[in-house]
Amino acid sequence: MANLHTTFAGIHSPNPFWLASAPPTDKAYNVNRAFEAGWGGVVWKTLGEAGPPIVNVNGPRYGALLTPDRRLMGFNNIELITDRDLDLNLAEIAEVKRNWPDRAMVVSLMVPCQEESWKAILSRLVDTGADGIELNFGCPHGMSERGMGAAVGQVPEYIEMVTAWCKQYSKLPVIVKLTPNITDIRLPARAAKKGGADAVSLINTINSIMGVDPTTLTMSPNTGGKGSHGGYCGPAVKPIALNMVAEIARDPLTAGLPISGIGGIGNWRDALDFIALGAANVQVCTAAMVYGFKIVQEMADGLSNYMDEMGFTRVEQIVGKALPTVTHWQYLNLNHISKAVINQDTCIQCGRCHIACEDTSHQAITSERDGKRHFEVKEDECVGCNLCALVCPVPECITLRSLAPGEKDLRTGAEVSDKHADWTTHPNNPMREASKL
């Protein structure tokens, strides 16, 4: 059985599945339940300054993008950082950590962008036994208007500055949580590293509005007729998060900086995607909010069985394993030829592949043969775009076949070459020398 134990920025946990800083980690009651269920660690919901706690709305805090059968694809929230008293939170953190010494206890922090404020909150953590801190530079709503959260995360200089304060006033490992609401994710990651961060975590949520009520023409969710953009997360954001994780993992300036992957992780397959693209562990929130804490058991079991099957004994062996396959478009082999193949034995003849190809792509799928409904790829038209395989309702019914070198591409009439040739060398590229990055 594979060992799921991981060490992330020096923090040990029995498995790579942590709960992200969010409503599920707001208080001892929830976190105890999470640890009972088997979570490897938590990032305690963000603490603010001492004094009167912040105030949340008393209307809907959440909105969702649902499939028609009401599976949740996307999730948005306007909840702020903890609205509980700082002392209470600190006492609970200390107590929970005492009771669960083998689990990772990381505390998320967000205070105004002043050295004194950070110094003060860090000093309060010393006696809690917390394993590390996560700097919330990501919250896109509510706190950002007050100069915190994403307002800091969008300015690399601030990130570097605050990170440096934290390293100066605390011995704990510092994880910097990044906002995706920026143009190039590498810049804040570089700034975090420059400031001395031990790790980064990403992504925080994405600015979003869920929709409009058709009857009242009011945005949703709203509180008494007015709404405000919220942070978007859940399965729908995973591809965005994966790209950002891979960007940082591939950047020579941040190479080796541990990454905690966040964004739409709901099962071991999602976790594997993040880990293979460079994350050393993962954080989960939305899936737990939909199904409860027990899902960690299926996640851990799934990952463990996968690792056994593949011959991995430790999670670290998978970290970044897929990164060498990520490159720039201009290095893709333009000599590689794929063609779609429809398995006639499993085809249910819905014709979705045909109409998708006919209307929107390359007119490469038939709709009949001998006067009968029949869907078959016309290899002389197919460019291997994969659309048909994606719209087909039957798993594995349509697949892409790679043509072997020497085989004839019926579309171009040319023989498939065994040589690699990409845009940097392509005769159609007037900049072919300059385009080599």
Binding site: P68, I348, Q349, G351, R352, H354, S367, P393, V394
Partner: protein
């Protein structure tokens, strides 16, 4: 054969409270949640097989997608555009042999999208809304059309013509219009007076004048209709049940199944309807199933449905057969009725039509070299009531007198229903080749209406 058996036919076999449940909606409505889930199962097929299989060509994927998008009005409009009686058809169509039979989900999951139930959801929602009309009648054309028979064919024809701005005189022999929708379908298929509610919806398009209690009986009537109208559509159905041609057919307790069904449909309190303790239904179509199941629901102890050929020849669909079996109707195959036995001394053949039925004697048959051949065995089923569901015929001598070309006793027409008499169309059960489904009658009416419209515009 002699018997002194006393017939047992009486009403109120069940507790009064049991009837409402027995005759409740056979296929209860889908909830909103079920509807959305089911709609989501539709794959929006290219050139959808369900649409091709629908006799009226309803754009099924489009109406289902509209349901999924919370556009029930648009869904209903899509349905009614192709089939103005989409509400009734959603209830009575044998969808398992039409649209749902060819749904690609059968191949994938062994379960089609519940097209019929979705269709009903959409049309019911429209009809129960405060704006039930979706079509506006075109400006009055000044053209007049006579439609004889207000069943599915006649109503569809009248509605389609009226929508195009023509004035329609709709004639029907019965007190209520609707034809077999009103008189010929099992109660549990169309509860809550749906047939009349649909008729009201159709008539609300405007331009249709209804003439009740009018029966086409003389050639002079037909001549008058043709003279006073730009075109005539005949959709009067079939009026006479076929004759078995065996002894005992006129015994008390022997009657056409359609009469039994009609009486039941028009009865305000079904507990007052007499039903036999033991009922034998002769026939294998949907009328046979409707009569058999309803006999059972009225409290009959044993109900036999007897068909002279094998199961594969039965015209009742698989689902209908299962419905019958679920209601404990006993299905018999390969039995041809030989004699209906009465309660009086039957040794004398001349006395066979006296008294009351007490049994039916059947000759067992089998297929020998592709031919139905008697095996020589006979079987007797005890019966207090015998219902004949062996099909109907035109039974109207006028048609021949009027010069209509007939085929197998029905009116011969072209593909759009035009008869050999100029300006006269026919559709529904009275037209030769009619495969006898409600939805096909509707399509007849609709097709002929389009042909009549083209004809009127030209003339």
């Amino acid at each position: 054969m002699t018997t002194a058996h006393q017939p047992d036919i009486r009403p109120a076999r069940l507790a009064q409270s049991a009837y409402a449940q027995a005759f409740a909606d056979a296929s209860p409505r889908l909830t909103r949640s079920q509807t959305l889930l089911e709609a989501e199962r539709c794959l929006y097929c290219f050139d959808a097989p369900c649409t091709t299989a629908c006799p009226t060509g309803i754009d099924v994927p489009s109406f289902i997608r509209r349901i999924a998008e919370d556009n029930l009005r648009g869904a209903a409009r899509t349905i009614l555009e192709s089939n103005p009686m989409g509400g009734m058809c959603a209830r009575v169509c044998p969808t398992e042999t039409l649209c749902e039979a060819v749904c690609v989900r059968n191949t994938q999951e062994d379960r089609p999208v519940a097209i019929g139930r979705l269709q009903r959801h959409a049309v019911d929602a429209l009809m129960e809304s405060d704006r039930p009309q979706v079509f506006t009648r075109a400006p009055e054309t000044g053209k007049r059309v006579a439609v004889v028979g207000a069943g599915p064919a006649g109503l569809a024809c009248a509605y389609t013509l009226a929508r195009q701005g023509h004035s329609v005189a709709l004639f029907d022999a019965r007190p209520k219009i609707g034809g077999l929708n009103e008189y010929g379908l099992a109660s549990y298929k169309t509860p809550d007076d749906f047939a009349q509610r649909e008729v009201q919806w159709l008539l609300a398009i405007g331009g249709i004048t209804v003439h009740h209690g009018w029966k086409l009986e003389t050639t002079a009537q037909l001549d008058t209709l043709r003279r006073d109208h730009g075109a005539v559509f005949l959709g009067m159905g079939l009026s006479a049940t076929h004759v078995l041609g065996i002894p005992g057919e006129r015994l008390n307790g022997v009657r056409p199944a359609v009469d039994f069904i009609a009486e039941l449909r028009q009865c305000a309190d079904v507990s007052t309807l007499p039903v036999g303790r033991r009922v034998v239904i002769i026939g294998g179509g949907m009328t046979a199933v409707d009569a058999a199941v309803q006999s059972k629901l009225l409290g009959a102890e044993t109900v036999h449905m007897v068909y002279r050929r094998g199961p594969e020849g039965l015209s009742a669909s698989q689902a209908e057969q299962e419905w019958a079996q679920k209601h404990d109707v006993r299905l018999h195959y390969w039995l041809a009725p030989q004699e209906i036995v009465g309660t009086l001394d039957l040794a004398n053949p001349t006395a066979t039509d006296a008294g009351h039925v007490c049994a039916v004697r059947f000759a067992r048959q089998s297929l020998v070299d592709g031919k139905v051949t008697p095996t020589g065995e006979t079987e007797v089923l005890q019966a207090d009531m015998v219902l004949k569901a062996i099909g109907q015929q035109l039974g109207n001598p006028l048609l021949q007198q009027a010069g209509f070309a007939l085929q197998d006793g029905r009116i011969a027409t072209d593909a759009e229903g035009q008869t050999n008499l100029s300006g006269v169309w026919a559709g529904g059960d009275c037209r030769y080749g009619a495969p006898d489904l409600t939805v096909e009658a509707v399509e007849h009416g609709k097709q002929s209406a389009h042909a009549i419209h083209a004809y009127l515009v030209e003339t």
